[in-house]
Symmetry: C2
Subunit: 317 residues, 2 copies
């Protein structure tokens, strides 16, 4: 009998989401749990497999499962490991695929979370049918998955596609995690938008802004978006500034792999045209002739959690 | 009978070099001609084929030739064309493969000159056996060829790998050809080194330097190299500055495709450690942990013209 379902798991710094997926990309049942409640990966897998077992039993048992696919920060497809993930409690090299296979008896594949999302876009999302595209997650951080000739780019060691760490403002803002200055992630993430807001409001204390009415710990990319929608000039300027930097970075990525499209997803995309317009403008302004007016910049049409679960599940088909 | 030889042609802005190559990558005979002596591509191909015919006849005639491979600025592998090449006299879209096939009756393939060089490195040079590497040509301009999983990255339209045009100093020096500011090419090329020298010498007219003894039109990357070798502080600073920018750009490329090595060639590599040391230092300083101390930065061991001829010939095997 042909096995009918795959399990997709999206391991995030705070939460882990997982679901059972059929061959058409329908998530039949899903659930979530805390990632950060577990000091080590064995305990995490223990809880995860207990929860997965319920879902698996609801769908005819283990005999129906072709495999488990897991997306995780710094996940390495070649080794089935998580290696030195800054935002997980588990330090060093974690043989995640091996731990899960031992526990579950089900073949398991691991990859980088952003690569899993790109896979989801390619198989079930807006990039369906595309062979050359790049996904950029604009969330707490900036993640990326690169597809060339219909395949995720892994590089010689499985770590390719860390576009959030590319330098776009040399000598610029310091990244607290890496200690490196001027990376895309320190500007074009939710954290970056917040830091830009604080910088602008403190450097210039004269210009009136709705943003000044928020206590500093309520100043988030969402509040900046709310204020921008109400026509606040400072808030609008923050998105223009962010889009300018993001667009320059996208131009660089286009001149690397010449994709058909760039797919954006994650929290910042909720700002819609406020972020999209300055991004496209800056990208086009920095592209040399052969690339101009060719590359689509799109928002994902998958729910964020779904893209990652679907993409992870796609690893095992 | 198995055809024994391929023709490789390297079309440059000024000169075109060509040769006949055996399956082991030996260039058995080669010659060159002016590219810029011809106002249109048909006349160019006419002269080129006349010269090629002599070489072909010296090696047993057309029956021995499997094909003609041509590397050219803005060459497009998918279309067999040259499209909008800034440094050629032939404007618009030139169907080069078609013109050559019509003239010669020999199957012809065209690709980008930098991709041809990368192909040469992979088949016959220092990148032999590597599946993931990037070649960067530091010549009058900055060219690049990207190899992932043993294949040249062409992108959705055949124009991928324009790394010389990526932005590394936003708002920086203006590129005279593209009108865009702060690209790698305006700094890490022979032209860029010369412009840096002029900038430094004119901004600070006090610091003594051997470079001041040269008339401005003799101030080239070669004279800067000569002065640096003699211990001139300004000349040394120019290479440190250039290496800093090149290294930052290389870090960005590494975080894109995670190559095993970056292969540098072209005129600037004659400066040896003067350029290599600051480049590696800046690259490592801008790489996040998983990439550090992994990527080799190497000088090509092929003669520049040979790499391009060999790489172009490799298109047809």
């Amino acid at each position: 009998m042909e096995k009918k379902f795959a399990i997709g798991v999206d391991v995030g710094g705070t939460n882990t989401k997982f679901g059972i997926v059929d061959r058409e990309g329908n998530i039949l049942e899903q659930d979530r749990m805390r990632t950060d409640a577990h000091e080590n990966a064995e305990d995490f897998v223990e809880e995860l497999f207990n929860k997965l077992s319920v879902i698996i039993d609801n769908h005819g048992g283990k005999e129906n499962i072709v495999g488990i696919g897991m997306g995780a920060p710094n996940g390495n497809y070649y080794h089935g490991t998580i290696e030195y993930a800054a935002n997980l409690k588990w330090k060093g090299i974690i043989p995640l695929a091996e731990i899960m296979e031992r526990k579950s008896g089900i073949p398991t594949r691991v990859t980088n979370d952003a690569n899993a999302a790109a896979m989801g876009e390619m198989m079930y999302g807006i990039a369906k049918g595309m062979k050359h595209f790049i996904t950029i997650t604009l969330g707490t951080g900036v993640g990326s998955g690169i597809v060339i000739d219909g395949k995720i780019v892994l590089g010689h060691d499985g770590f390719a596609g860390e576009l959030g760490h590319t330098i776009i403002r040399p000598g610029g803002r310091m990244h607290k995690g890496t200690g490196i200055r001027g990376s895309l992630e320190v500007y074009a993430s939710a954290t970056g938008v917040r830091d830009t807001a604080i910088e602008l409001l403190t450097q210039d204390s004269d210009t009136p802004s709705l943003l000044r009415s928020y206590p500093i710990d309520q100043l988030t990319s969402e509040t900046v978006f709310k204020c921008a929608e109400q026509g606040d000039a400072v808030a609008n300027h923050i998105f223009e500034f962010t889009g300018q930097i993001l667009g320059e970075a996208l131009a660089n990525f286009v001149m690397f792999s010449s994709p058909e499209a760039i797919v954006l997803f994650g929290g910042l995309t909720k700002a819609g045209d406020l972020i999209l317009k300055p991004t496209i403008q800056a990208m086009e302004a920095n592209l040399v002739q052969v690339f101009k007016n060719k590359v689509k910049v799109l928002f994902s049409n998958l729910k964020e959690a779904d893209a990652a679960i679907l993409g992870a599940s796609a690893l095992v088909w």
